[in-house]
Symmetry: C2
Subunit: 197 residues, 2 copies
Amino acid sequence: MADKSEKVRRQIIETANRLFYHKGYNQTSFSDIADAAHVPRGNFYYYFKAKDDILRAVIAQRVGDIRGMLAEWDENIGTPVLRLQRFVEMLRNEQQDLVRYGCPMGSLNTELGKAQPALKREARAMFDLYRGWLARQFEVLGFQEQAESLAVELLSRAQGIAVMSQVYGDKAILAQQTVQLDAWIGELVERSEDRRA
Amino acid sequence: MADKSEKVRRQIIETANRLFYHKGYNQTSFSDIADAAHVPRGNFYYYFKAKDDILRAVIAQRVGDIRGMLAEWDENIGTPVLRLQRFVEMLRNEQQDLVRYGCPMGSLNTELGKAQPALKREARAMFDLYRGWLARQFEVLGFQEQAESLAVELLSRAQGIAVMSQVYGDKAILAQQTVQLDAWIGELVERSEDRRA
DNA sequence: GTCTATATGAAGATAGAC
DNA sequence: GTCTATCTTCATATAGAC
């Protein structure tokens, strides 16, 4: 039954995704995932033969989710400025999780970067998506050569906000710093309008 | 021989400090530390009876180091602007390690924040030191009520730069983004001078 | 395809000889 | 104070019955 099998597989990936985020990849055991996904320990190896296979599947799913979300933003949000603001809004929407567990991509990369370079390289794909998408928004705004570095700057600031909010477990930090980020985008837009005028 | 004992203890802390940074706290085993510090496994428990005791000792040492460094900056650097710039310069000085392992305080807090709240709270002490010191510099610059939030913003941006540089293993990102950070400090100083004029 | 039972190894931790 | 031997627990992983 490929149907049932696929369903269990998806269930495992979903559970692993949550646990990797909440507990960290290395701190999550096979049994943790099996128990939480209600799959008997032994049966587990029928679906994934090693732990990094699960991680790869989790990353693939996250990449798909991000891709879908960005495509949806492209379709439904009319201007690059609104799209950048939507990006910042995402931080506010996720505040509860961000304050507890940090950024799902950032914390995973930080962890894997220490001693698992191969897996880290795969996890980086999530950053590549945002980085490219943000750069395109800045290009449309008229920042030709700077678009790439502005994308990195915005991602970097978002990561910093996630780290500091988690360090202090403080929603107020997140709220306050995202206001600064919105202001920064606002100033950039003014500059881009000056340039066109 | 308390002398010998103290020396071995310091040796263990120094080794653990390095390994926790390079491999992560949870991914570093007792044996890793014992082997690297050339202390027989069994003898280890004479010095530290549990792993979190080692972490506490490591944090205490790092806190001491930071405190000493900031005191030295206070003594030898004449103005708050130069001190803030010195803080940013630190990122550049540590570029090789930052790009490989991320920020020692940031990555430790990110890791412990996932599922070790008690230890995380202790690790936060490192952030408190910088946060307080940075806020004092902004106060001297005339940013009374904003001093605290500016300190968090600067720390936050530094953390973001560390994360992004590590994600991409890229010194150029670190170089480019610290230039932005210097520029930001420059603009703030101008504003503070306008205010006084 | 599903599950039980179990092998194997590493990690944290202790007892107790010297 | 120093070190060997060893215990327990838990992790990854496999064999093989159903």
